[in-house]
Amino acid sequence: MPRVSYTAPATVDDAVKALAGAAGLAKVLSGGTDLLVQLKSGRLKPDLIVDTKRIPGMIGIREEGDYFVIGAATPGVLISAHQPLEHAYPGIVEGVDLIGSQQIQGRCTIAGNLCNASPAADSVPPVIAARARAVVAGPGGRREVPVEEIVTGPGRTSLQKGEFVVEFKIPLPKPRQSDAYLRFIPRTEMDIAVVGCAVNVTLDESGACTDARVVLGAVAPTQVIVAGAAEALRGHKLDEDTLQRLDSAAQAACHPITDKRGTIEYRTKVAGVLARRAAAIAFDRAATRGATIAGAV
């Protein structure tokens, strides 16, 4: 009979020890909304499960210096309810909020969404677009890496044996910076992104873009930072030409596959569409934020 051990350590060090010392496959458990499904279906047969939710600091959001710090086991409902974060990064909250249903929201985390390493993960593009960093604990101590360096392919991460994500650090936004996340699904909810797109922009006082990051999901083995997007947007307002250049840049960044959820051709076109639409929202938010502090939506 297959057996699986479970432990819920009280410190980061104990968690690292348990993960590093495990014989066979050890998996971190945050919300479990991916892990438990995979266990039940038999797709994953771990020998040890390390639940991190008992470790102080793993659940919760705080402001520390120039950063929001989000504990890796913080569930979706707490993220959506955090007003300063919602005000600063409505796009991140949109991404998190799209995960599953109310029941799932009570458990699901950004860390799990990220480390499950699905190209379609909804919270990941806006977090990358915000230039967030992940704090990783492991046998060699702590290290900080840009979030986009965690996922290396479908189901694969750069985390080494014994390592896990402890928290995310998201820089506090600059004036007139805002973001947006849109995903395309054939239905209206309870579905998986065919394409996801996060746009994070900073504008000058005239409304022209000074900085931008556009990140696509579900169009390549990992999330993709659209290389040409910053160039397409920087120095411009959101006119037809700019939108068109952004659309082309987004399409050029796609390396999707044809599968049961969409064809290469379709995904590529929709990536362009979403980039334009998300940019329009992000520009609007950034401009509004410049004028009134409260205008986060």
Binding site: R187, T188, K260, K269, V273
Partner: protein
């Protein structure tokens, strides 16, 4: 007695709370998977990973030796069965094929086909034991698509299958099980008379019934061979009959108990697990429970047929149809028996067309055997015909509803498949659509409106019911048809109306096969009609008895007693002068006036009224993503008499919802090896609640004179028009004609791009 005068009704037509409601809302109702028994074992099913393969050998020794495993079975544990057509479920079923579908014999015919099963002391052990069963397969070429399966060089599934209905009889086996045809008038004359013609081809994908409750059962075979089956199905008598045949047991030795059912939609009119659990129980001497998971439901149980529909219509310049031709190719799945027959018969049923020619093919391929699904066969052919009617209307510049109005079948019209209509309400649905406020609502850009109609036979058939008067004056109604859509409420309402007592004093139950007379299954929209008729008659017999008892108490002739509002009255001044006697008072004295008061009725109900519907659908198309949003939906239907209007509306809304899923996103995706890639609700996309507006159900009450209350079946026809209604609306919004289902975002976007590249991209 007739209760057709609506104004005289006190209970029928109101909306009381359903008798099964509370337990369902609080999660206590016992569905198929809820039954447990002491000493029960858990069964699991090993399924084929191949679409088509010969089974060279199955070695179960290691599985049987695993501690905790109590029985392992394969096809060898079932008696071989001769080919024999059965009419136990909805539509014809061959007993041999059913046995072979439940557990593969010699060959596996589709990905997910059951090959062996185990029973063990825990689900985990049973699961582990499956891995220890070694099946040696010789993989064979397979065929999934219906037209590929019809080709001369296609891999043949059954080497004893020779096409029926062709002359001369074929000498070689093929995948074409049957060719059928229907003719009216002379089609050549029709084409000569036609001034305008149109010819189009449409395709539909197989779709799953999508019931939320997976198949589940517990079966206990005693040492004496007596067998009890608890399971969720659309008919406990169907379960009993099939199990008896498949295991070679007398029907009297099986008692089948109906569980609450979490949806069936036709998909639970046949069985999958019960024979396996029965064989495992027989072998192990313990009760055995088997519950499918969702993946097994998708891989192993019946979808509705996918199809190819070729339509040709001919009309006069004024829009009158003079000729119609139809060619249907329906997927049957791994065994013959697609609903191509009803597909042929329903396609033109709405119209009065002098010259009609219809041909249909029933074709097997390496997919799960199709099962009934709401109006089996009709949605497919109607998608073709109702889309083509729209294309014709637009080509001729005639309003699509007007085109239907001028061609509508009426009382006296002879349908292409034979019957001459009477008491039909099709034209009324069209006229009600024309008058509906929906039509005057203005559409915005990227929005469009479509209409389509539909027909379904509805059936009657064998039903039994009993009505028992209890000592306190309450009543128990016992019937034999599983309640899928609120039928218990309707039964109690009809009984309460006849008895003249409040609905709350009637308790309806669905009884097991030993506790009520034979009843055909819940299907064909028959229960409120046929079982409702039996219940009404049982209650009427009780009223006769109640009058007799009152007469005895008063010492007058029973003819001199009237029954009104739950009380016996002397019928007029000559009968004598007595205080009315209530049902309760008579019940209390029953012991002294001749014993218990109850009645049983068994009938074969005739005279079911057909279902007719016309739907109006508004959509908005996101031309950049190809996504279709349903903005507004009005479904107009001839419902006979709505016994419980909420449950009639529920049937209409449910049917429309499933039709919209069929139209927009539902499809089976197979890989090149014939394995199903989307066996789950994540990638098999039924609509979710937020996808839909409130569906406006408009009930036209055109009573069926053959039913005491005027009821007609209502559950099936609502799924017939939606696919064409949506497609016609998409055309109206975009100018793009979608002829292949589903009209999913990638397909619609590709169609939009093919028609006219969006200026945005052209500018690049």
């Amino acid at each position: 007695m007739s209760y057709l005068d609506k104004s005289a009704l006190k209970v029928v037509g109101t909306r009381p709370v359903r008798p099964d409601g509370v337990e369902k809302v609080i999660g206590r109702a016992n569905f198929g998977a809820d039954m447990v028994m002491p000493g029960m074992l858990w069964g699991k099913v090993l399924r084929s990973p191949h679409a088509h393969a010969r089974i060279r050998s199955i070695n179960t020794a290691r599985a049987a030796a695993l501690p905790g495993v109590r029985a392992v079975i394969t096809a060898d544990d079932f008696p071989p069965i001769a080919s024999e057509e059965a009419f136990v479920g909805e539509g014809p079923m061959n007993f041999r094929d059913l046995s072979y579908n439940c557990i593969a014999r010699g060959k596996v015919l589709y990905d997910g086909h059951a090959v062996a099963a185990v029973a063990a002391t825990s689900p985990a052990i049973a699961e582990e034991a499956l891995d220890l069963i070694a099946v040696d397969y010789e993989v064979l070429p397979h065929v999934i698509d219906v037209e590929d399966a019809m080709k001369a060089d296609a891999p043949v599934l059954h080497d004893d299958l020779f096409t029926q209905g062709v002359d001369p009889k074929p000498t070689k086996p093929s995948n074409i099980a049957k060719r059928i045809g229907f003719n009216k008038g002379d089609i050549a004359t029709g084409w000569k008379e036609a001034e305008v013609t149109i010819e189009r081809r449409y395709t539909t994908q197989p779709v799953h019934q999508g019931y939320i409750e997976p198949h589940a059962c517990v079966v206990a075979v005693g040492a004496d061979g007596q067998c009890t089956i608890w399971s969720s199905s659309q008919g406990q008598f169907m379960v009993r009959a099939y199990c008896a045949k498949l295991l070679g047991v007398d029907i009297a030795n099986i008692r089948a108990m109906p569980a609450e059912i979490g949806g069936g939609f036709g998909g639970k009119t046949l069985i999958y697990l019960e024979p396996l659990a029965m064989a495992l129980s027989r072998k192990s001497g313990r009760p055995v429970k088997i519950v499918m998971n969702r993946e097994e439901v998708f891989r192993g149980t019946g979808p509705a047929a996918g199809s190819v529909i070729e339509v040709k219509l001919g009309a006069k310049k004024d829009g009158r149809l003079v000729a119609a031709e139809l060619l249907l190719k329906y997927q049957a799945g791994a065994f013959p028996g697609s609903p191509v027959g009803p597909g042929c018969m329903c396609a033109f049923a709405m119209y009065d067309i002098p010259h009609v020619s219809i041909v249909g093919y029933d074709v097997v391929s390496n997919r799960p055997k199709v099962a009934a699904y709401r109006a089996p066969g009709a949605p497919n052919s109607s998608f073709g015909v109702e889309s083509c009617m729209d294309e014709l209307a637009r080509q001729m510049n005639i309003d699509p509803l007007h085109l239907r109005e001028i061609n509508a079948a009426k009382d006296g019209t002879k349908a292409a498949h034979g019957p001459t209509w009477s008491n039909i309400g099709y034209l009324e649905t069209v006229q009600a659509a024309q008058a509906n406020a929906h039509l005057s609502h203005k559409l915005g850009s990227n929005q469009g409106r479509g209409v389509a109609s539909g027909f379904w036979f509805n059936i009657g058939g064998e039903s039994s019911a009993a009505c028992h008067i209890n000592e306190d004056g309450t009543a128990t109604v016992v019937e034999g048809c599983p309640d899928i859509g609120g039928s218990r409420a309707s039964m109690a309402m009809m009984a309460a109306e006849v008895l003249g007592i409040p609905y709350e004093r009637v308790r309806p139950i669905v009884a097991d096969t030993a506790s009520v007379g034979f009843s055909f299954l819940t299907g064909g929209s028959r229960v409120t009609f046929a079982t409702g008729m039996a219940v009404t008659q049982a209650a009427e017999k009780v009223v006769v008895e109640l009058k007799k008892r009152a007469a005895m108490i008063w010492d007058i002739s029973p003819d001199a007693v009237d029954w009104k509002d739950g009380k016996a009255y002397p019928a007029g001044p000559n009968a004598g002068s007595f205080e009315p006697l209530s049902l309760q008072e008579i019940a209390l004295k029953a012991g002294r006036t001749g014993g218990p008061i109850s009645a049983e009725v068994t009938i074969n109900a005739q005279g079911a009224g057909a279902g007719w519907a016309t739907h109006i659908c508004d959509v908005e198309v996101d031309s950049e993503t190809g996504r279709v949003k349903i903005l507004r939906y009005t479904a107009i239907q001839d419902v006979g008499r709505a016994i419980h209007p909420s449950y009639v509306e529920g049937q209409i809304q449910g049917g429309v919802t499933q039709g919209i899923g069929w139209a927009l996103n539902e499809e089976y995706i197979y890989d090149k090896d014939g394995r199903l890639e989307n066996p789950g609700f994540l990638d098999y996309r039924v609509p979710v609640a937020s996808d839909l507006p409130m569906i406006d159900a408009v009930m036209l009450e055109i009573p069926n004179p053959r039913h005491p209350f005027g009821a007609k079946g209502v559950g099936e026809v609502p799924i017939v028009p939606p696919m064409a209604a949506v497609a016609n609306a998409i055309f109206d919004a975009t100018g793009i004609r979608m002829r292949d289902l589903p009209m999913s975002p990638p397909k619609l976007r590709a169609a939009l791009d093919a028609e006219a590249p969006p200026p945005r991209l052209a500018a690049e």
